[in-house]
C-alpha cells in the first residue's frame, strides 16, 4: 500500500513518541478495546456466529424431527440434585396428562425415569456441511430420549435446535444482504461523490425514489413477486436480493458523503496531480482510506437487514419451510391463544433482540474507534 494512503499524522491522538510505531489499524484496535459495550457486543456477535456455524452439532435434536409424544412441551430443567443426593446432570422423564374438559395437555416430570445428559452424546444423524456424516451432538441424552431445554413447538420439534438452525439463516441473511448492498452502495456512492454532476444527480434521484416508499411495504411487495414454486434455497437468495435492493441507498449516501469530504484531501489531489487515473485514485486512495468507515457503516446496517428478514418471514413472505429463521419461528406465536398457553414460542424473539443489540453496540464501538477526531 502506498504511503499516500495513510491518513495524515493526527496530533490529537497521542503526543508521546511511542505512537509513531503504531499503524492506524493498531490505533483503532487499541481504542476499540477501551469501548466496553463495543467489545461486549463483538463477543456476543462472535459467540452467535460460532453457535450457528456449529449448528447441527450444537443442536441436541434434528430440528425437523417431530416428537408427536411431546407436542408443546414446556422447557425441561436439567437437575443435579434429587432426593437421594447429587448426581451427574440429568433430566427427568415426562408424564403426560390430558384434561378432557379444557382439551389442554399437561406434562409433569416423571421422577422414576432419569436421562443423564452426556457431552458428545449420540443422537440424530446429520451431515456436517456435506463433509462427513456423524451422529455426535455436544449435549444429549441419547437418540429419541427427551431433552428439550427450551420446550417444543406445535409439532413436537425441539425449539433449541430450531432456534440454532434458524439463527443460521437469520444471521447469514444479514451478512449476505449487507455484503451485496455494500458492494452496490460503495460503488455507486463513490461514483456519485467522486464524479458529481449528472451522474451524481441521477444516482441521488434513484435513491430518493427508493426512500419514497415505506420500507416494510415495499419489501413485502418485492418478496411477494418471488415465484411461489421456488424451493426454499432460491427463496433465501431472493430475500437477500430484495433486502439488498431496498437497503443499498442509505449506505450509498453515507459513502458519497465520505467521498465528498476526502475528495479534496491533499493525498488525493497529490495522486491526481501525479497523473493517476480515476480508477487508480478510487481503488488505491479513496476506498482504502474509507475502509474503516465502510466497515462501521456495514456493521450498523446489519441489524436493519436482520429485522427486515424477520418481519418478512413472520408475515409469511420471507423464508419458507423446510428452511427456518427466527422470524418464521415467531410466526407460530401469531396466534394469541397458543401464545398465552405456550409462551416459550417467543424465545426466537429474544434471539433477534440480542443479535440486533450486539451488532448495534459493536457498530457504536467501531465507529468511535474509527473516528480519529473523537475525544475518547
Amino acid at each position: 500500500m502506498s504511503s499516500a494512503v495513510q491518513t495524515p499524522p493526527d496530533a490529537s491522538v497521542e503526543e508521546t513518541t511511542t505512537t509513531a510505531t503504531y499503524s492506524q489499524r493498531e490505533l483503532i484496535w487499541r481504542r476499540f478495546k477501551k469501548h466496553r459495550a463495543g467489545v461486549a457486543g463483538g463477543c456476543v456477535v462472535l459467540f452467535l456466529y460460532v453457535c450457528v456455524f456449529l449448528g447441527e452439532f450444537l443442536a441436541p435434536h434434528d430440528p425437523a424431527h417431530r416428537y408427536y409424544n411431546y407436542v408443546h412441551l414446556p422447557a425441561q430443567r436439567v437437575h443435579i440434585f434429587s432426593e437421594d443426593g447429587i448426581h451427574w446432570p440429568f433430566v427427568y422423564g415426562i408424564k403426560k396428562a390430558f384434561d378432557r374438559q379444557t382439551g389442554i395437555k399437561t406434562y409433569t416430570e416423571d421422577a422414576a425415569v432419569r436421562y443423564p445428559v452426556y457431552p458428545f452424546a449420540r443422537g440424530a444423524e446429520y451431515t456436517f456441511y456435506g463433509l462427513f456424516r456423524t451422529d455426535i451432538h455436544l449435549l444429549g441424552t441419547g437418540k429419541g430420549n427427551p431433552m428439550f431445554l427450551l420446550g417444543t413447538d406445535r409439532f413436537g420439534r425441539d425449539m433449541l435446535s430450531r432456534i440454532i438452525v434458524g439463527g443460521r439463516v437469520s444471521l447469514t441473511i444479514g451478512l449476505l444482504a449487507v455484503f451485496i448492498s455494500l458492494t452496490l452502495g460503495s460503488a455507486l456512492g463513490v461514483i456519485s461523490g467522486y464524479y458529481g454532476g449528472h451522474v451524481d444527480n441521477l444516482i441521488q434521484r434513484v435513491i430518493e425514489l427508493i426512500f419514497a416508499f415505506p420500507s416494510i411495504p415495499i419489501l413485502m411487495a418485492l418478496s411477494a413477486i418471488l415465484p411461489p414454486e421456488w424451493p426454499s434455497h432460491l427463496v433465501f437468495m431472493g430475500i437477500v436480493t430484495v433486502l439488498a435492493l431496498v437497503g443499498w441507498g442509505g449506505l450509498a449516501r453515507e459513502i458519497r458523503g465520505k467521498t465528498l469530504s476526502i475528495r479534496e484531501a491533499d493525498f488525493v489531489l497529490a495522486a491526481r496531480v501525479a497523473g493517476a487515473k480515476d480508477r487508480r485514485v478510487i481503488f488505491r486512495h479513496l476506498l482504502p482510506s474509507m475502509f474503516s468507515h465502510i466497515i462501521v457503516i456495514a456493521t450498523l446496517a446489519i441489524p436493519g437487514f436482520i429485522l427486515g428478514e424477520s418481519t418478512l418471514s413472520f408475515l409469511g413472505l420471507g423464508i419458507k419451510p423446510p428452511m427456518t429463521s427466527w422470524g418464521l419461528l415467531l410466526s407460530d406465536a401469531m396466534n394469541i391463544h397458543s401464545l398465552s398457553l405456550y409462551p416459550w414460542l417467543l424465545l426466537p424473539g429474544v434471539c433477534i433482540i440480542i443479535a440486533v443489540l450486539a451488532f448495534n453496540f459493536l457498530g457504536d464501538g467501531l465507529r468511535d474507534a474509527a473516528d480519529p477526531y473523537s475525544s475518547r
Binding site: F213, P214, A221, L317, L330, L339, L346, I353
Partner: protein, 332 residues
Amino acid sequence: MINYIIRRLLHMIPTLILISMVSFAVIQAPPGDMLTSRLAELAEQGELGSESAMAQIDALRERYGLNDPIYVQYVRWIWKIISKGDFGQSFTYEMDVMELLVERLGLTLTLTLSTLIFTWIIAIPIGIYSATRQYSIGDYGFTFLGFIGLATPNFLLALVIMFIQVSVFEAESVGGLLSPEYIGAAWSWAKVVDLLKHIWVPILVIGTGSTAGVIRIMRGNLLDILGQQHIQTGRAKGLKEGKVIVKYGVRIAINPLVSRLGLELPGLLSGAVVTGIVLGLPTAGPIFLTALTSQDMYLAGAFLLLSATFLLVGNLLADILLAWLDPRIRYE
C-alpha cells in the same frame, strides 16, 4: 414562502411519476396477468366455462385492455387514477380498490400521525431530562430502554404486549380497535372509552422504536447546545435555569427534530402496516398482506402509490414547518 412551496410542489411531480411507475411495475411483475389468478380461482370453484364467468373475464380483459403494450396499459392506469380516482378493481374483495382502501388508509394515516404526536410528547421531555441530568441513573435507564426499543421489531413488541394482556391482566379481547360488542354500534361515550382502551396498544407498538430515536437525538442536540456560549450568557444574566433550558436550549435543539419529521414518517407507516396485521386492526395493513399473497395486484399497487404519495406530502409539510420555525433557514 409561497414561491418555495410552489417550487417544491413542482419538484414533486417527476418523483410522483417515478413512484407510479414503480408501483405499476409491482402490479405487472408477477407472472401472468391479473386474470390468471382469477381464472384459477374460477376453475377451483368449478365455474370455469360457465357463461357468466367467461363474460366477466372478457369484460375485465376489455376494461383493462390487457392485450395492449405495457406502456399503453400504464398510461391508461395512471390516467384513470388522475381523472376519476379509479384505482381499478380488487379481485379478492370484489370491490373498487378506492372504496376498499379509503377508510382503512384513513385509519392507517390517523394512527401513524397520532403515534407521531404521541412519540414527541413522550420523547422530548425524556430527552430534556436525559440531557440535563447526563449520566444519572434515569439517563442510563432511558438510554438502555431506548436501545431495547430500537432492537425490538414491531411485530414482536405487539406479540409481547398481547401476551402480557392475556396472561397478566387476563383481558378477554386483545387486538383490534374495539371490543366485539361495539363494532358497528353507533358512537357513544362508552364506545369512545372502549376505543381508547384499545388504541394505546398499536400506538405504543408503532411508536416505541421512533420514541427511542427521538430521545437519542434530542439528548444529543440539547447537550451540544447547552455547551454553547449563549446559554452561559443566559445564566450570567440571572435567568432561571428552567427558562435558560427551555427558551435558549430546547428552542434550538428542536429544529433538527422537525427536519427529521419527514424521515420519521416512513418508519412509522411501516410500523403501522405490520402492527395492523399482527393486531388485526381494520387498517390497510391486513388487506395489503392479503392482496400480496393472493396476487390482487391492483390493490397492492394502489396502496404502494398512495402511501408513497402520503410520505412525499408529509416530507413537504415537515420542510415547510421547519422553514417557518427556524428563522435561519432561507428558502430562495
